[in-house]
């Protein structure tokens, strides 16, 4: 069966063109005949009925102010979405920079390894300072 790439067979395309009035006679099937081939005359008649249908559209009830209102509401919605996105982005960046700085801490630094360096530093601190201040000094 020949296909047109979109699922229509050659025979369906032939019937389509015939019913549209592009070909005066329906050619013999070049591939497996489609169902519509047996309805071709009814479909042609139906097309003529549709052709004769007169439809007049009702008057347009919206005006330009409606368009402006809708556009303003749309812009407000878009701004709100951007606000949420930028807040989320800032939080993500803050979190990631925290994680990265934690990973990049120099582990050989005695201040983070509780090795003698910290003890030595603490030894040189004047008496009476609290633990938090000790950490800051280290």
């Amino acid at each position: 069966m020949l296909y047109d790439g979109n699922g229509l067979t050659q025979d369906e395309l032939d019937v389509l063109d015939f019913v549209t009035g592009l070909t005066p006679t329906l050619p013999e099937p070049r591939s497996e005949p489609c169902e519509d081939r047996w309805l071709a005359s009814e479909l042609t008649d139906q097309r003529l009925r549709v052709r004769a249908l007169v439809v007049e559209s009702p008057p347009l009830r919206i005006n330009f102010d409606d368009v402006l209102l809708n556009a303003a509401a749309r812009r407000k919605g878009i701004n709100r979405i951007w606000k949420h996105w930028s807040l989320g982005l800032m939080m993500t960046v803050a979190f990631l920079s925290g994680v990265l700085s934690a990973l990049w801490i120099d582990e050989s630094d005695p201040a983070y390894t509780h090795e003698p360096g910290l003890t030595l530093a603490a030894e040189h601190v004047p008496a009476g300072l609290h633990n938090a201040e000790l950490v800051l000094l280290s």
Binding site: L8, E35, D36, Q46, R49, V50, L53, V55
Partner: protein, 165 residues
Amino acid sequence: MSQANVERLFAEHAAAVHATVFRLTLDSAAAEDATQEAFVRLLTKPPKEQGNIAAWLKRVAVNAAIDTLRRTNRHKPLGDYERADEPRPDVSDTTLSDELVEALKRIKPDHRAAVLAVDRDGMSYADAADLLGVRLNKLKTDLLRGRRALFESLQGSRLAANLKE
């Protein structure tokens, strides 16, 4: 695009855009919403090329209407046509035309638009595809399926009996 420009374009093209969408969807509410959507988009996200703005507006509006109808499945129930607040289309003739309009409203919105564009308005495949913003192959598929769906939708109606005579 400036507000003044869009206002001028609205005055020039809104009625034509609305009429085009209504003729292809037969749904006045969808046609109004879609017309508004096209001009809102012109204000907020205008096209880069503004050569044929009327064609762009129609394409955007028709697509918006078809999307809305597809989302809401408005083509399925027939009741939509009977809503009191919706003006019924003025059709040239009688019950047969009414039956045809009702049957058209029962088929899928993209199929309906393809059938109305080609069979009622007499557009070429290429022009209809351009207006509906679809590829030529998609237009042909919609047209074939739409005609068949309309034929089936008319089964049992007086018009169907006439077609078989």
